[in-house]
Symmetry: C2
Subunit: 190 residues, 2 copies
């Protein structure tokens, strides 16, 4: 891979995360997904349709700061995934590989309960449990998706190389090999 | 800059940061600096010598996880800087540019009070205040140093591209143009 020597010199800046309220002071919502944005992702498509008819609830949001999308910069933000189920499958994010697949990402969980579900193109799968304080390292080559198994929002601070980009297409085709369900109060990964 | 296509595929993993006790469960101390490691950094060299004679106290430590130092990976860890003064100058880290200078870094302050002091090679200087929850973005090209202006440890979670490297040499020559003092209970940047 070749990287151009064109990294922008910008001024340092700071923001503030209220570590109890789990919100950025300055970052604005960047990406908002409702149930209707999740067609094709859940096992029970009919139940997702019902959810959409019953008001198409908020699914997840990201709050992301604006950094040049160039080599050397780091993009950071908060991801907030609502609790809920589609049938008995736990709410989740779409999940993605990075477009530059050899870039990793870090996640610090600030509230909620859930998993970071990860997979490689050759079929390895791994689920790391997340709760307040969990720090998950998603190495290069691993697609990743958050799954909320709790009753409150699952909020994570993410940081990744600014040139990485998102590849949602492969996941919408491949899926994640494993799904996470809530059955009779127990979490089932299958 | 040219990057080799040699990024390692490793397994995902997670760690746990106790966000109240501010400690990693698994990461071990990586780098430990005592007062005697800081010769040449403070304005009052004689006062530093006295501090060294009086027991050479711990200055700062980093707790860092082991990730391949290759493009695409991210290194993360905690930096814990003790409170104190050398004469009236607040305890600080050595500070560094990245060897690959066009790489940035993020800091999330988890406890304490202080500043992230930053400078460029052409003499721009900026100080961002830090307290629990402060998130500081150190863009590419900015050398950076933590300064503890409080009475408790200043602990930050840092994340940076794994290939970045550290260049301490230039700072030991250039200094940071500004210093931070505690005088009669007030913080003075000059």
């Amino acid at each position: 891979m070749e990287i151009k020597e064109s990294t922008s010199l910008i001024q340092p800046y700071s923001d503030f995360i209220d570590l109890d309220k789990v919100i950025f002071k300055d970052c604005k919502a960047h990406n908002v997904r409702h149930a209707s944005d999740m067609k094709g992702y859940y096992k029970d498509a009919a139940m997702l349709e019902k959810l959409i008819e019953r008001g198409d609830p908020l699914h997840y949001e990201t709050f992301e700061c604006q950094v040049p999308q160039e080599y050397g910069h780091l993009i950071y933000g908060l991801s907030k995934l609502q609790p809920g189920v589609v049938g008995d499958e736990c709410f989740m994010t779409k999940g993605h590989y990075h477009t530059i697949i050899e870039t990793g990402e870090t996640y610090l969980c600030l509230e909620g309960q859930g998993y970071m579900l990860m997979k490689t193109q050759d079929g390895q799968v791994k689920a790391e449990k997340m709760e307040r304080g969990s720090f998950v390292y998603v190495p290069p080559y691993w697609a990743h998706r958050s799954v909320n198994t709790g009753d409150t929002p699952l909020t994570t601070l993410f940081i990744y190389p600014a040139e990485a980009g998102h590849n949602y297409g492969d996941i919408s085709q491949e899926g994640f090999l494993k799904r996470i369900f809530k059955r009779n109060g127990a979490i089932v990964i299958e």
